[in-house]
């Protein structure tokens, strides 16, 4: 199985939109790579360039050893799930699924076998005779996925393939995908907005913003060690709380919140605290006051919204490194903590939350880059 490599790839659409900006990305043979990033950051465009549906404005794309910039889409041996499905409206589900196989001159019985196999995996067996127009949204999405999975291509490109499925199905599909990937070992590039998906499926995650690569690494690493403020604010749900702070003589502080940290240069900082790191303050750990505005019960946990005794900043998607300094005017910033239902605070009350020192993230305020 060949890998995929993007080398300094740029896509500028007519009209000037730069959808993908000098993107370099190597996806190893058989790797499961997940692309995440804010809406409109260029994920689909990147997939389409790899697929050969869009010509890069600059840069080279390699599949295996071969530079494919000039290779037509149909010769790249890539299977793709389109974000908007693109099912053949005039064909039954069965025919939609069989189509890629028929193109490869696979024998009828074999086609039948594989179509039924993939239909089973996607719980589509009952629907094989229907046309796409007679399906629900989620069913269509599954057909779209089936049409890619029925093949054994060099590369899978999946563009938000599970977004319209219910949680249960999604879990089931995820498991199926994982099994399939283990079995075939096909290099896979997968776009998703679902962080659980990203965390559970990926070998590595690539975080994009505004067409540029922000961080690339295994999921837990990206979560634990966000490379910059954008990633910190993007990965994790709810996002990391970001506070305006500073460092003086190895002491990092934001308002009343202080913690010793070596190796941090003096100056303006951004301090990041994950919601799950915040817990009822215990002795000895750095802590700060939290005014509870809203308590959202999520069933298994409580999301507590409120304000911290420090200035919050937003990691804007527009300019991921610098914009962290300006507060987002439109949506008032709030801090979020995650508590067990047993610790439910009253709305309006102020509680003291603490955090383990090693779970505090520190970023340079000017560049947005993490300081470790």
């Amino acid at each position: 199985m060949p890998g995929v490599a993007l080398n300094d790839v740029t896509k500028t659409f007519p009209g000037g939109t730069v959808a993908v900006d000098s993107l370099s990305l190597e996806v190893d043979d058989g790797e499961f790579m997940i692309l995440v990033g804010s809406s409109g950051c260029g994920k689909t465009t990147a997939l389409r360039m790899i697929a050969g549906l869009e010509q890069p404005t600059a840069g080279t794309i390699r599949i295996g050893e071969r530079v494919v910039n000039e290779v037509s889409a149909r010769d790249r041996d890539i299977a793709m799930v389109f974000q908007n499905y693109a099912l053949y409206p005039h064909m039954s589900v069965y025919k939609n699924l069989a189509y890629p196989l028929r193109q490869q001159r696979v024998k009828k019985p074999e086609v039948d076998r594989r179509v039924r196999e993939v239909a089973h995996m996607l719980s589509l067996e009952e629907l094989l005779k229907r046309r796409p127009a007679q399906l629900s949204g989620g069913q269509r999405q599954r057909v779209a996925m089936g049409r890619a999975l029925v093949r054994e291509p060099d590369v899978f490109l999946l563009d938000e393939p599970l977004s319209n499925l219910d949680a249960k199905l999604r879990v089931q599909m995820r498991a199926g995908l994982k099994r399939l990937h283990a079995r075939l070992g096909v290099t896979t590039i997968y776009v998703t907005h679902d962080q659980v998906e990203a965390m559970t499926l990926a070998d590595r995650i690539a975080v994009l913003s505004d067409g540029k690569l922000q961080q690339l690494g295994p999921p837990q690493e990206v979560y634990d060690k966000p490379a910059n403020v954008f990633v910190a604010g993007f990965i994790g749900s709810p996002p990391m709380n970001l506070l305006k702070g500073s460092c003086q003589n190895g002491v990092v502080s934001a308002g009343e919140f202080t913690v010793k940290r070596s190796g941090v240069p003096d100056g303006e900082l951004i301090i990041g605290l994950r919601h799950e790191s915040l817990g009822p303050a215990t002795n000895g750990v750095p802590s700060l006051d939290f005014r509870v505005d809203v308590v959202e019960p999520l069933g298994d946990e409580l999301i507590v919204h409120g304000s911290l005794a420090a200035d919050l900043v937003a990691a804007s998607g527009e300019d991921p490194t610098a914009a962290a300094l300006g507060a987002d005017q439109g949506n008032e910033l709030e801090a979020v903590a995650c508590l067990s239902p047993r610790d439910r605070p009253a709305e309006g009350s102020t509680i003291r939350l603490g955090v383990e020192p090693e779970e505090i993230h520190v970023f340079d305020a000017a560049t947005g880059l993490a300081i470790r």
Partner: protein, 310 residues
């Protein structure tokens, strides 16, 4: 089937009758078609009724006619020339319709791309269409002239035997086919070009991703989605082919030896050369019924084969 199920409304709790009628699809449907229906009824249906009456008369359109019942139709049944006209029409239609439509489809696909000069090529294909039938006739009589024609000249240059073309009873009808295909191709092409614009691009992309060859994409995606246009062209071309007249009139006038006497040309002869207008009208009606049946069959097949979005 869809129509049936969706037509059954829940019956209780209806708004007032007036609102129901004015807002109903029945009302809206008729309101939308009314202008067209009125225009077509006045200028087509009344004349058609008029000529139905004519077909029951002995009438030369000069003297007052008199009704003869079905005599014209009975005579037609025994008319050997009419039968051979039917044969010619049939042969013509069976060749013309598929040839022109497949040719146009291929050409439209070739023209539906962005290369330099594509506008020029499209215009070129359009040219024969805007050329009047009379001019086309004169042109082809020259091109196909056995002695002085361009085609025989070219055949001669490449060492092929000279042909009589329109002057050979065995070839004339096929020459008419070639000529009409040539002159009507542009029509089918622009219909197909328009239809091609409506094919969602992402389906073509999907097909590429599925590894389909160009041909396969064409066959499995483009062609089915062109179904509505194709059905239209098949019906329309058939209706026209069965009523072929102008091109015959400006070239062979039904000859040589009656080999290109098609139904409507025969009708014309009867009505305006022999002054048997009643008989001509009867021919028109027999043709009408035949065309109607053929069209209904085509629509019926289309209903099952053609994919629509609703």
């Amino acid at each position: 089937m869809t129509a049936l199920a969706e037509r059954s409304p829940a019956t209780r709790h209806r708004p007032p009758l007036f609102k129901r009628i004015a807002g109903s699809e029945h009302f809206a449907g008729w309101a939308f078609v009314m202008p067209a229906v009125v225009l077509i009824a006045v200028f087509m249906l009344i004349p058609i009724g008029w000529s139905l009456l004519l077909s029951l008369q002995a009438n030369n359109l000069l003297a007052p006619g008199h009704y003869v019942g079905l005599a014209n139709y009975k005579a037609l049944a025994k008319d050997a020339q009419f039968k051979s006209a039917i044969g010619h029409t049939f042969v013509y239609t069976v060749i013309f319709v598929p040839v022109s439509i497949t040719g146009a489809l291929a050409l439209a696909v070739a023209l539906n791309r962005k290369i330099r000069g594509i506008r020029f090529y499209r215009l070129a294909v359009f040219i024969p269409l805007v050329t009047s039938t009379v001019a086309t006739g004169i042109l082809f009589l020259w091109l196909l002239d056995p002695t002085f024609g361009l085609v025989n000249y070219l055949l001669h240059e490449v060492g092929l035997p000279q042909q009589q073309f329109l002057q050979d009873p065995n070839q004339a009808l096929y020459c008419i086919v070639a000529m009409t295909v040539w002159s009507w191709l542009g029509f089918d092409v622009i219909i197909y070009l328009a239809a091609l614009q409506g094919i969602p691009e992402d389906l073509l992309e999907a097909s590429q991703m599925d590894g389909a060859s160009r041909w396969s994409t064409f066959r499995s995606v483009v062609l089915p989605l062109l179904g509505p246009a194709t059905l239209f062209l098949v019906v329309w071309s058939t209706i026209n082919a069965l009523q072929l007249f102008d091109e015959i009139y400006v070239t062979t006038r039904g000859g040589p030896l009656g080999s290109t006497t098609v139904i409507v040309y025969y009708l014309y002869q009867q009505a305006f050369q022999f002054f048997n207008a009643g008989y001509g009208a009867a021919i028109a009606y027999v043709l009408f019924v035949a065309v109607l049946i053929v069209t209904l069959i085509q629509l019926w097949i289309g209903r099952r084969r053609v994919y629509y979005t609703s």
